[in-house]
Amino acid sequence: MSEAERTRGLGVSEYETVEAIKGPLLFVRGVSGVAFDEIVEVELQNGEKRRGRVLDVGNEVAVVQVFEGTTGITTVGTKVRFLGQTLELPVSEDMLGRIFNGLGDPIDGGPPIVAEEKRDINGEPLNPSARTYPEDFIQTGVSAIDGMNTLVRGQKLPLFSGSGLPHNVLAAQIARQATVRGEQEEFAVVFAAIGIKHDEALFFKKFFEETGAISKVAMFLNLANEPAMIRLVTPRVALTLAEYLAYERDMHVLAIITDMTNYAEALREISAAREEVPGRQGYPGYMYSDLATIYERAGRAHGKKGSITQMPILTMPNDDITHPIPDLTGYITEGQIVLDRSLYNRGIYPPINVLMSLSRLMKEGIGEGKTRADHANVSDQLYSAYSRAQELRSLATIIGEESLSAVDKKYLRFAEAFERRFLSQGVNENRSIEETLDIAWEVLSILPERELTNIKPEFIKKYYKARG
């Protein structure tokens, strides 16, 4: 959007009354006619322009959050222009194949975007009575996901990871392999980088280029060295495009957003600057609601062919799942895929801790006609057998493996096979759901038949192959 277009809106007003500067906030005195959430342009003495938004407005003072930060801003000589509109993104199908900064401006040297429409980046809540329940099975080709934590179209399923774990590789593998069986159409990908390192962004870019997917990907990049306040905008900008593509252009969109931890930290920073009463570990009390306005922008709707499937990535500080960021995320999303350092250290890829992982929308996406009739039973049985095996593993460390009963020893063998055969797979290995379930039966068959109490007898008859 050109500068001229930006300021053409009604009611532009300009002030040079910056009274105070605190962290990323400007306090502007003597304003009138300024709206809550209005978008602002700040012009520094040297002519540099920055953008911001109104967080609080009264008769005397408006509080403005400056996206690019306040470094170098002075109280005298700074012009603050209130632009008479909220932050909007011009959207178009042509944005696929392009790269943007965290505010949605193209940075790839390509032609300007000719907007088909402008949309408020905050979006609006989807009417629950207009939603359609997600139930189309997405085959990711990853056994731990397809078999036990099935992803469906329109779901929001985050990756909970830790620093140094291969979440990017896994997200890329999923993006490459994800298909809805029986449909030709591929996902359009909206990728939002929030405060990640340059090499991580490069990894995704190269990956999309090499797989030829780049023409169906829109990338929004806010990197680690860029202003933190923009991080609060980037996921919203990306999801605004996603909504346009899904609900106006009938596309199935996969939104990958990484790293939400950086987003939450930016939120904490702004809250501290406003001197709000802090909640747990300094994060604001409204972080749940704030995160929800991002994560809830996924789904399907009546009368719309498209959908938004969200895969946010976050790194858990100190691998702690009870930290407010993963905790509040888990309370909003429809499950989580948890990566585990000890599996990773044992050389298992993908190092998915299935017991801590969950897909809440799995049940509607699997079964006869979707995957296979035995799927739900098999998944239940894998869970209960593997969790029993984990208990026995820790018991064995106390009393020694020899003291376990014959059946219990089989559980240990099952767990080994489960991790080496079922969980482990190559980064390019794309397993069909049938392969996944067949491997599951192979490892379950290590256990005596009568241990498989989660499985209906008819499936045991059909698939169980005793292996003593």
Partner: protein, 593 residues
């Protein structure tokens, strides 16, 4: 009409306006040129602090605020059932059709109850002109849904001599169906009235809960029962099963009317109910569940102030059906989001925070809410007994039950279904921890079980509880020293506890047979396990058998017993009797008897 003031400040959901002299505390107001709906929650001089139920983006200082003259109220009358409302009783279906959008737009005005629809009203027999009527007097009935006969009552604040009563016929809710006169003043009564959401509706008498509210969930009905008119909380970390359990209660419990409040939770969970309930049958009546259900949805991405209101709107509706003499179940998922909304508003008002930023009145608000549950004798004639049962989810940060919302809630509820992350991780669902959960109604509902199912119920239940408690201790020993030194009776406890856990406590909400367990099936499963335990214990203590022999000898029967929860339907429970006899016979054979 009300006051007109002027906005002086906007900070998120909080708007401050001057020139509001004459406005009342908790009055509903319309804010700004878009006339967004808000509620006054503090007054200082001519300044009013307003929590706004819609997004305040774009609102400016200087815009007007209009008072309405009445507090946040709920429209009560036929047409509530089967609806889905937002937090301030706007029908979401209507918002959708009116705006033609899949999104919830701001400033949309829609009537809570349909104005055009005609209802077939039947006056009660025996009412005469001149009869003296008290509040709550029954005037007639309307078949609201095939499942629920709506009883049209004189509103709580109206009484007097009956001057006119409509004859049988079709009326809209705006038509006058009765006129009463008190001290020369005539009042028209319609099929609906308004009631302030924050004020409990009056009743004549509060009674002790005595009857179980059966839910078909085994661990609840048998171990930690709910009573009609009781209060319960279900706390648990994310993904431990609060929503699935509450959906289960809404779906299977023997309530006549169900109010489901989705308070700050996921949009898709409301959609799930909306899509499923019209298709699923109420197990007690065979009718579509939707005919007894009202949904209230303020999802996590909807404005936070309306989240705070949704709880009151819901409980007011519950009391309204209670007054008609129905057993109502209200489920609130999640009360923590309501408390957080309270905290956010309090923070914006710069009130002094108490624990973890929550306002100091958190506990009293929770108490007031749960206090609105109960079994009561309603006002008016003929005598009606109704109840409101409340079950609220609690979402403690980090799954830590010592946080303020969980710990305060515990003071005001009688049933505590504590969800356990470790159980959930191992997919033991429902992940209700049997060691720390409790119900104050176990004694209360004993009589019902003994009369309707079996006089053995209470003893079997107690034995099961004891086995589970002992297992917990034994497991602790095993963790320290291994299985080596365990006595045979303790080994048997481990074995039976495993049967109980896998075959009784676990219950798959998504299995068509397992999901709903009738009382008799619950009892028979429990009986089979405890009878086995008693007989086996005798043999083990007499040294006739050891537990390893039992385990080997009965392995196939145990598999069968553990599977019975999803292989034996409710109407074939004799199969459990047969299996139990086989187990007991084989056991005595093994023991050489």
């Amino acid at each position: 009409m009300g006051v007109v003031g002027k906005i002086v400040r906007i900070s998120g959901p909080l708007v401050i306006a001057d020139g509001m002299t004459g406005a009342q505390m908790y009055e509903m107001v319309e804010v700004g040129e878009d006339r967004l709906i808000g509620e006054i929650n503090r007054i200082e001089g001519d300044r009013a602090y307003i929590q706004v139920y819609e997004s305040t983006t774009g609102v400016k200082p200087g815009e007007p605020v209009y008072g309405t003259g009445y507090p946040l109220s709920v429209e009560l009358g036929p047409g509530l059932l089967t609806q889905i409302y937002d937090g301030i009783q706007r029908p979401l279906e209507l918002i959708k059709s009116k705006t033609g959008s899949i999104f919830v737009k701001r400033g949309v005005k829609v009537d809570p109850l349909p104005r055009e629809k005609k209802w077939h009203f039947k006056p009660v027999d025996g009412l005469r002109k001149g009869d003296k009527l008290e509040p709550g007097a029954l005037l007639g009935t309307v078949q609201e849904t095939p499942l629920i006969e709506h009883r049209v009552l004189l509103p709580p604040n109206v009484k007097g001599k009956l001057v006119e009563l409509a004859s049988e016929g079709d009326y809209t809710i705006e038509d006058t169906i009765a006129v009463v006169e008190e001290e020369g003043e005539k009042k028209e009564v319609k099929l609906y009235h308004r009631w302030p959401a924050r004020i409990p509706r009056p009743f004549r008498d509060k009674l002790e809960p005595t009857e179980p509210l059966l839910t078909g969930l085994r661990i609840i009905d048998t171990l930690f029962p709910m009573a009609k008119g009781g209060t319960g909380a279900i706390p648990g970390g994310f993904g431990t099963g609060k929503t699935v359990t509450l959906h289960g209660l809404a779906q299977w419990s023997a309530a006549r009317v169900v109010i489901y409040i989705g308070c700050g939770e996921r949009g898709n969970e409301m959609t799930e109910v909306l899509e499923r309930f019209p298709k699923y049958k109420d197990p007690w009546t065979g009718r579509p569940l939707m005919e007894r259900t009202i949904l209230i949805a303020n999802t996590s991405n909807m404005p936070v102030a309306a989240r705070e209101a949704s709880i009151y709107v819901g409980i007011t509706m519950a009391e309204y059906y209670r007054d008609q003499g129905y057993d109502v179940l209200l489920v609130a998922d999640s009360t923590s989001r309501w408390a957080e909304a309270l905290r956010e508003i309090a923070g914006r008002l710069e009130e002094m925070p108490a624990e973890e930023g929550y306002p100091s009145y958190l506990a009293s608000r929770l108490a007031e809410f749960y206090e609105r549950a109960g079994r009561v004798v309603a006002q008016g004639t003929p005598e009606r007994i109704g109840s409101v049962t409340v079950a609220g989810a609690v979402s403690p940060p980090g799954g830590d039950f010592t946080e303020p919302v969980t710990s305060h809630t515990k003071r005001f509820i009688r049933v505590f279904w504590a969800l356990d992350t470790a159980l959930a991780y191992s997919r033991h669902y429902p992940a209700i921890n049997w060691i720390i959960s409790y119900s104050a109604y176990a004694e209360t509902v004993k009589e019902w079980w003994h009369k309707n199912v079996s006089p053995e119920w209470y003893d079997l239940r107690t034995e099961a509880m004891n086995i589970l408690l002992r297992e917990d201790e034994v497991k602790e020993i095993v963790r320290l020293v291994g299985t080596e030194g365990l006595s045979e009776p303790d080994k048997l406890v481990l074995l039976t506890a495993r049967l109980l856990k896998d075959g009784f406590l676990k219950q798959n909400a998504f299995d068509p047979i397992d999901a709903f367990s009738e009382p008799v099936k619950q009892f028979k499963l429990l009986q089979a396990m405890i009878y086995f335990h008693r007989n086996a214990m005798k043999l083990v203590q007499a040294g006739k058998l050891n537990v390893a022999q039992i385990q080997d000898g009965l392995a196939d029967e145990f598999s069968e017993l553990v599977r019975a929860r999803f292989t034996v339907p409710n109407d074939q429970v004799e199969k459990i009797d047969e299996l139990r006899e086989r187990i007991l016979n084989k056991l005595s054979q093994l023991g050489g008897e």
